[in-house]
Amino acid sequence: MTKYIIKRLLGIIPTLLIIITISFFIVRVAPGGPFDGERALPEVVKRNIEAKYHMNDPLLLQYGRYMFDVLRGDLGPSFRYKDHDVNFYIFQSLPNSIMLGVIAISLSIVLGITSGMLASVKQNTWVDYLSMALAVVGISVPLFVIGPVLQYVFAIKLQWLPTSGWFTAGGDWKTIILPAITLAFADFGVIARLTRSSMLETLRSDYIRTAKAKGMRNSAIIFKHAMKGAMLPIVSYLGPAFAGIITGSVVVEQVFRIPGLGKFFVQSSFNRDYTLIVGVVIVYSVILVIMNFIVDVVYSMLDPRITYK
């Protein structure tokens, strides 16, 4: 087990190196950046960047330095803003995004598994049809449609919830409800459908028949025998789900005006603030890579058949 974890940890390294390398070349090569002299940068910023990256050094040395800085956790100065460096802006907004993401993914997992289980146990009843209809909505309708529609119905028409804002920025806790639901919707759909189909398949399997032949109750069979096996596809879906949450949060933060990393990201991509964009991508990638790692470990703990060789 420990061996397996170490092996997976080592597997993370090339991914991170590639991300950082891509980042380096984006900052360096990107047209319209500060280095081809076309765009006027604030003098201070320009000097900062030049000093930071030792622009006149050989490329390899610059690359090495950049790599070292990033690994140390220093993402460099912003191209746009001269007051603070990239780290400052990122870590100011990151907690908001993490909060939103965690709530959304928990919502989608809990609701998705619950409704998927209900649908599979009550197959071909209204419970099944309702939860699958919701799931299809989650899968088919993009969240930039779901978000505004929810906003229109619940915030503007019914006035139950605030349209936008964020509780750390002066709004109340209700501000988190609509963004979290919006963000959770897509993954909810996938998880509910996955749960349903994998549960149905598990319930048809031989070992469930054995459990029935033993004289077990249906509820006990579902929770003690079927659950564990049926959860495996859901666990392996969680990797893509995290990626989806990250991507989705970019839109959701935009729609609901949440001061998170995603909103920052879009802004800086309009500003062509490359160091900031790249910084955000590195942070996102690291989160994603860690999440994927955790998912893999959880999976291997759930399935005793996986051998750690």
């Binding site: 088919s140 993009p142 505004p148 459908r193 991507t247 970019v250 991509s269 991508v281």
Partner: protein, 544 residues
Amino acid sequence: MKRESGYQMKNIMRKKQLPQTMNEFDQVVKGNSLSKDAWRRLKKNKMAVISVIIVSIYILLAICAPILPIYPYDEIVLDHQNLKPSFSKTSGELMFEKRLADLYTQAWRQGRLTLSEEQNAILETWIDKNQATKVWDYMYVEGNRQLESGTFTFNTAENRTVNNLKSKIATDLQITVDTIWTTDPQTGKKLNVEKLSTEEIVNLYATMVGNTPQQVITQYTVEIEQQILKQIKSESTGLTEAEYQSLLQADLAGFSQKERDNLTKDNVFSKIAAIAKDIAASDLKTAATDATAEFPLNKEIQIKDSLSASVKATKMHERRYYLGTDYVGRDMLSRIIYGGQVSIAIGFIGTLTSVLIGVVLGALAGYLGGKVDYFIMRVVDIMYGLPYMLLVIIAMAIFGRNILNLFFALAIISWLTISRMVRGQIMSLKNQEFIEAARSMGASTPRIIFRHLVPNSLSVIIVFSTLRIPSFIMTESFLSFLGLGVQAPYASWGSLVGNGVGGMTLYPWKLFYPALAMTIFLFAMNFLGDGLRDAFDPQSKNQL
């Protein structure tokens, strides 16, 4: 508890049967190809059939967009900003209503239009809740009532505004000049001005403006030079004036006499056309004001001397917007159809490209195995670990926001899953006998891959591609929504929704119609994909 179907048995049995026995043993078993079988199953699936119909309608609309009787998607009519959708009312009526509601509301604010305490309270709560639409609608009805009953009258300025608007709505025309004719004074023959020679056009124009032909030519030579200079300056920046001049001279030297003539001709002709349009406009406007002409109108108008023009004219404010207009008065219906064209095209072509890349790489990895496989799969693994959507955003930020870049960025990142799937399929197929047979007969590797292996994985590829199209469209719309994808004046569903979000309190139709159009299509595509998957692979029912 599956039963053996006993097909072979039936075939064997047939020869032993007596002719008079009619039971299940002597039924001839018809061979069914996989695709035929799948088609039969698909037809049974109601949702899938409905989806096929819906998708076909969408595609048909997208393809036929240029010949549909809709307004151009990029035509800006500033008078028609944010008009609400209406089947019964023309744009002029809607404009008028809007204006009146505005005037009534102002009058109410100024205290000239008085309402009961109750009414005031209702309006105040609406205003508090930011529901301006309700206020306007209410004020429009209430104002009209009071105007009729005489408890409220417009003041002079308001009266003038209303009358101006009325006459504007009645007389604003949209005029297109189709052809300009000239009648030869000697022969009386009518000629199309556009088809005349340069010399003739110049002469014509010279007589029109009362100059000599020579003067006209000199004037236009200067104009053309200025045009070219402007172009040069926009292409290369940072040169001195002298350098520009030398570039210009070099360019001009490169022109032949004929090219020069053509340039002159084009310039002069557009001038004539502009004059024709002006004259026609003022003519028709009088006609519209006096109500001496019927609109829409299509007739020949005398311009000057021997010139006449075939002109089409419609009343500007008789347009109808079934789905409303956007913030610069463009027709939403037309924008949704053209936006659909862009979205669907990107969805289909993008999917095709990514599937092609994925199939080629996946097939190579699966068939060749070894180092090639290892390398391709490592690339796939690593790219899977990246938040690729964000990389697409970066790519758009760096390389510029246009459709082509968007398309490439999407195609490059979306071949991963399909390549993995094809690889798996190929690996399971490649050790089967028919591949051995092909190999033993000396078939080349590419032949084996693309004539034997890929066709056998086709059902998987088709199903995947169908499910891929909606997600491709979603990705494209996602970027366009953020403003990083398709740029105005072009539209895509994503950018339309994105534009609609801002003003959704006041103009909800700008959000809902594009969202609805998109949602229906995505639903249909998803159901179609599910249906296809179930049809091709009935065992994996409801698998994702």
